[in-house]
């Protein structure tokens, strides 16, 4: 894709109304810009509104105050060029793996042969060959998430929004999936916004990490993860130092939230 893709968030605030009780300010004046083909992680303690920010970028929630623009076009509703991957996969449980992947493809203006070919390509890419006709309930967590990622990638979105995508997986599967995601992005670079509360994961995957404060969510710090280019060496002292540094920030926020600030 030759075209540039960037996301601009300007002075975004968001309040939600619980069924009972007072309105809660979830996001407070967020300003952020995501560059073309950049991988940015939103890091913060649970309840800091990082998922809310992602859902607003996706166009799933109505924007109340402030603005989000993708290539200067304001976001108002979900769109094919912003693919989403959820923590709990959100696969359609009554469709098989291949039917899930075909769901979006079949709504595109493509020849049948091309849709078939793309579906096959992404099945292979996420290594789900042989499981095309399984229902999601028959798959392991890691396989479900690979299917969900394939379903989103098959649309070839310019932007990939990921909401703690590996949060529901066990530690070992998570490591495999992280490596696989990086390999896939190597082949098809995209602009990625990745929500996580795992500091190690954020440092490993992202080009930049935005650390968010406890509720109401603000951006405390944006850290550039420049560890000397090339693949990151998780055993390097720089890596550990960056993790420690960010971890400290998150811990302070989590404590502040715990004290009922």
């Amino acid at each position: 894709m030759a075209e540039q893709t960037n996301i601009t968030v300007e002075n975004l605030s968001h309040t939600y109304m619980p069924p009972k009780g007072k309105p809660v300010l979830a996001l407070d004046g967020i300003t952020l810009s995501v560059k073309d083909k950049e991988f940015i992680a939103l890091l913060g303690p649970s309840g800091c509104g990082k998922s809310t920010l992602l859902y607003l970028m996706g166009g799933f929630l109505d924007i109340q105050d402030g603005q989000i623009r993708v290539n200067e076009t304001p976001v108002t509703e979900p769109s094919r060029d912003r693919g989403i991957v959820f923590q709990h996969f959100a696969l359609f449980p009554w469709k098989t793996v291949i039917q899930n992947i075909r769901f979006g493809l079949d709504k595109m203006n493509l020849a049948k042969s091309e849709r078939d070919e793309r579906a096959r390509y992404y099945i292979d890419l996420v290594q789900l060959h042989g499981f095309e006709d399984s229902f999601p309930s028959q798959l392991s967590g890691g396989m479900k998430q690979r299917a969900a990622i394939a379903r989103t990638l098959a649309m070839d979105p310019a932007i990939l929004l990921m909401d703690e995508p590996f949060g529901a997986l066990d530690a070992q599967t998570r490591m495999f999936m992280q490596a696989e995601l990086l390999a896939i992005l190597e082949k098809t670079p995209k602009t990625v916004v990745f929500v996580t509360h795992d500091v190690h994961e954020a440092v490993l995957l992202a080009d930049r990490v935005a650390v968010m404060s406890a509720r109401p969510g603000k951006i405390n710090e944006i850290a550039d993860i420049e560890l000397g280019g090339g693949p990151k060496d998780v055993k390097s002292p720089e890596f550990a130092e960056m993790v420690d540094h960010l971890w400290d920030g998150v811990r302070k926020e989590a404590l502040a939230a715990g004290q009922g600030r």
């Binding site: 799933f60 979900p78 959820f86 959100a90 359609f92 449980p93 469709k95 769901f103 379903r151």
Partner: protein
């Protein structure tokens, strides 16, 4: 496996039927002992002989058929109205605003009491009976469809939207299948209800059918006929409920609950 173990295994298999067997034996012996006059309680063997004669005579299937025809016609019309309406109510605010108070206020009302109104409006024939069935089966199905639609995982809808689904795609490809388990539960309540209402409508409005046959036997002081009809109704009802469970498993192969019940 040794002999004793085998016996135990067989024993365990028959335990569930033991108390039913005892119940039926006590019925037979009690009736034969002449503690009560046969009019009050005909012997089980007499009743079963009556059921057998009904089956062999062929008339039973005509009567059951009539009752089932009204029950199923009412059920299908009711489902065609209730399920799309319930989905619309769950999905669209305007529908919810209009129908929610109407349904929540009229639902707890004992609707059998309205059957005489249908007798005035539609007479004593099939139309009245089918209308009665429609009224009664409407509620469990519409409530199930509303509940099912409202509880569809929001992220499924979001995913579909970001994959380019239109509102029409959403309704047919996401919301309907996602709400299906609850809708089928509503149907599983509605189908036996349809049978019951069909029988009660025959009681009240007269005419042929298994309920009519039962009432006719009672009026003729033919108590073996009364008990035989009840046994026949119970059997028909049980078969109906079992086939619904089978259909549920067939329709929901993708659902985790199916794996649990077949494993």
């Amino acid at each position: 496996m040794d002999g004793v173990g085998k016996l135990k295994a067989i024993g365990r298999r028959f335990i569930p039927f033991a108390s039913i067997l005892v119940f039926l034996t006590v019925w037979e012996l009690f009736a034969r002992a002449g503690v009560v006059i046969p009019y009050l309680l005909p012997a089980l063997s007499t009743v079963l002989a009556h059921v057998y004669a009904d089956i062999m005579g062929g008339d039973l299937f005509r009567q059951l058929g009539l009752t089932f025809y009204r029950a199923m016609t009412g059920f299908f019309i009711g489902a065609v109205i209730a399920i799309p309406l319930g989905i619309m109510i769950g999905r669209f605010r305007f529908f919810r605003w209009f129908f929610d108070p109407v349904i929540s206020i009229t639902n707890p009302v004992p609707k059998v009491a309205f059957l005489p109104i249908f007798m005035i409006w539609f007479g004593l024939g099939d139309v009245s009976k089918i209308a009665s069935v429609i009224l009664l089966v409407f509620y469990p199905m519409v409530i199930a469809a509303i509940g099912g639609t409202l509880s569809v995982d929001k992220q499924l809808i979001w995913s579909a939207r970001s994959l380019g689904a239109s509102e029409r795609d959403l309704l047919r490809q996401i919301i309907l299948p996602a709400a299906l388990p609850q809708i089928i539960t509503g149907m599983q309540i509605a189908v036996p209800l349809a049978l019951i209402v069909s029988i009660v409508a025959e009681f009240l409005m007269g005419g042929e059918g298994i309920g009519g046959k039962l009432l006719f036997a009672q009026r003729r002081i033919n108590s073996p006929g009364v008990f035989a009809s009840i046994v026949e109704i119970a059997l028909a009802g049980a078969i109906l409920i079992k086939s619904l469970e089978y259909m549920r498993r067939r329709l929901l192969v993708w659902h985790p609950e199916t794996k649990l019940t077949t494993a």
